[in-house]
Amino acid sequence: MKKDAVLGTVMVIISSIMIWQADLLPRGNKWDLLGPAAYPKWISWGLLILSVILILSSLRRSGKESWDWSALILPGFTFLILMGYVFIMPMMGFIISTLLFLVILQALLSPSQKKPWLHIACVSLFFTFALYLMSSYLNIQLPVLAL
């Protein structure tokens, strides 16, 4: 399937949900003609119409688009590790989860033949503690939910 058609379809779904949700909001009155519903509804209709145009123009175009799924392997793993980091942070705390995240992600992305473990360890330790110290100096809250 073509990328534009997929994008258009996703946008059709989003705009339809928003139109339905906007319909549940109160209408305007004589003081506020538009009310909370009209503006988001107009925008959603605009998005819906443009999405349909995008789908139609993509279907009219000749030729096939090939999807290189193998190109998504490493980016996909990276995103999964990021999600894992975000979800374990409340349980393990900022410092431990950050150290783990940095080590795992660097190990995954570094050259496969010979892993630069010393470099990975130094970067992870140095960066985590530098961030911790800097945040105290600049008065920034870190997501330190537990150590």
Binding site: K3, D4, L7, V10, M11, I14, S15, M18, Q21, L25, P26, D32, L33, L34, P36, Y39, P40, I43, S44, G46, L47, L50, I53, L54, S57, A71, L74, P75, F79, L82, Y85, V86, M89, P90, T98, F101, L102, L105, Q106, L108, L109, S110, S112, P116, H119, I120, V123, S124, F127, T128, L131, M134, S135, L138, N139, I140, Q141, L142, P143, L145
Partner: protein, 506 residues
């Protein structure tokens, strides 16, 4: 004059000078790394300014912004890989000059041109922002709504390869901005029962997600490709003891003052226009320099004229694009859209009223803009030899470190874990939209200007229910006509390009 002196006193403190030094350095380093953009530099450093006073935070961000515009030249000249998209033209002559054995000359020409081009942009910003803001005071809600419509359509149509996708991006941004409390009636909308969504999406986590995650995933994709091909780092022509002839090149720049002035002005003007950014400015400045040069056929072979035009044009944009941002509160591109966010997060609403209500702060911003250029020059003097090492730093470490900074930045705004989840969600959305070829600039512009657009539109109709006023009030009508023209013009351009392609195929 009193305001200016008081602004000087506020900016010239040891703490602000120190923060600006760090900010400029951060901007230069971020932009020197290929694949990192100025927008990302601004977005990632912004959370570190939350604990500062407005003038401290804004001066620091101004330093990051200025540093970012000049940092791209380092990897462009020494590695042939532009650090930022707006330093592409610098590579045309900078890299050949390096290959000829003159990397120091190319770098110093680039730095001087950035410095002078940036100062020209800053001077134009200071000169023009005040009269434009004064003109902006005449704007009622009709004009403000039309102005936002104009900025959005211009960015969506001229700033994108596909008008449909550009407009869709703008509408998506506007739609995302409607989540949360309705700006007039105070009623929650589209919160889906989520208490955390009552105040809408905090735009910093959204910005970080939309800009940083796709860039990092792209970097991961490049790592994967280089792993597959078994490539190592880019070929370097840089000698170990890099000599930089600063004085000699300053003389060269002085001889080319017309080129510097022309390119700086082009950069500032292009920067002030909505939808046009550093890329357009550098190409235009480079093209004009080639047309006016006696050595036009030598462009692209490593001559100083090309480097000077490109860098002066690129840095002129920094000051130019701040004109509509500060004076009217309407950003012209995604970088200034983020800068508007910076102002809002520090409790300042940009626009014509800012000049009347907080003149000291406005002048403070102008002073910071000028000083940041001197910091940029000084930091390049001292550290330019080291920046190339940063540009060559292993990407696997950079990606991991930047993603942690994204998480910290998202959390730091409201100290809410929910914002970290918002960042992750919008990171995924940004990656998908980017992959599908939807420009992210209009999404961000729509998100930032959305509440302003809605409140002005509704306020206009509350003042007078006649919608025809949008088309009969002269300024509003002109802006609407210009918006429609931009869509038609862009459509024609795309249609012509398609026809040309078909003709070439046949």
């Amino acid at each position: 004059m009193d305001v200016f002196v008081s602004a000087l006193g506020e900016v010239f403190t040891a703490r602000i000078m120190g923060l600006m030094t760090v900010g400029t350095l951060a901007g230069i380093i971020a932009a020197a790394i290929p694949g990192f953009t100025i927008t990302m530099a601004v977005v990632l450093t912004l959370p570190f300014t939350f604990g500062m006073t407005p003038i401290e935070g804004l001066s620091t961000m101004m330093a990051v912004y200025v540093g970012g515009y000049s940092g791209g030249l380092v990897s462009g000249i020494l590695l042939g890989i532009p650090g930022t998209p707006s330093s592409v033209c610098t590579v045309f002559d900078g890299f050949p000059m390096t290959k000829k054995g003159q990397p120091g000359r190319a770098l110093s020409l680039g730095v001087w041109a950035s410095f002078f081009g940036g100062l020209i942009g800053a001077a134009l910003c200071i000169l023009l922002a005040v009269p434009i803001a004064r003109f902006g005071l005449r704007f009622g809600p009709w004009e403000m709504a039309s102005l936002i419509f104009f900025a959005l359509t211009l960015m969506a149509s001229l700033g994108s390869k596909s008008i449909t996708k550009g407009l869709m991006g703008g509408l998506l941004g506007l739609l995302l901005a409607t989540v949360g409390i309705d700006p007039i009636g105070g009623r929650p909308r589209f919160t889906f029962g989520q208490y955390n969504l009552t105040s809408g999406f905090a735009f910093l986590p959204v910005l970080i997600g939309l800009f940083a995650v796709p860039a990092m995933i792209q970097a991961v994709y490049e790592i994967q490709e280089s792993k597959r091909k078994g490539e190592t780092s880019a070929e370097s022509y840089v000698p170990k003891n890099l000599a930089i002839p600063w004085i000699q090149t300053l003389k060269e720049i002085m001889h080319q003052w017309v080129n510097v002035l022309r390119s700086g002005i082009i950069g500032a003007i292009v920067g002030a226009l909505p939808a046009a950014g550093g890329n357009t400015a550098t190409f235009l400045a480079y093209d004009q320099a080639q047309k006016f040069s006696r050595r036009s056929d030598e462009f692209g072979t490593g001559i100083p004229d090309g480097i000077i035009a490109s860098e002066a044009g690129n840095n002129g944009v920094a000051g130019g694009s701040l004109i509509p941002t500060i004076a009217l509160g309407v950003p012209g591109n995604s970088i200034t859209a983020v800068m508007i966010g910076v102002l809002i997060l520090h409790g300042i609403t940009p626009g014509p009223l800012l000049f009347r209500e907080q003149p000291t702060l406005v002048y403070g911003l102008f002073i910071a803009l000028v000083i940041a250029h001197f910091f940029m020059l000084a930091i390049h003097f001292v550290g330019i030899r080291w920046f190339i090492r940063v540009a060559q730093a292993p990407k696997y470490a950079l990606v991991a470190v930047v993603l942690v900074m994204c998480v910290v930045g998202s959390f730091a705004l409201n100290n809410r874990y929910f914002d970290v989840l918002v960042f992750t969600f919008f990171g995924l959305i940004g990656y998908i939209l980017n992959g599908a070829g939807m420009p992210l600039g209009p999404v961000v512009l729509g998100l930032i200007l959305g509440p302003l657009a809605e409140s002005n539109l509704r306020r206009a109709l509350m003042t007078n229910p006649d919608p025809m006023l949008f088309f009969t009030r002269p300024i509003s009508m002109t802006l609407i006509l210009l918006s429609l023209l931009s869509i038609v013009y862009s459509g024609l351009q795309i249609w012509r390009a398609g026809k040309r392609k078909k003709y070439q195929k046949s």
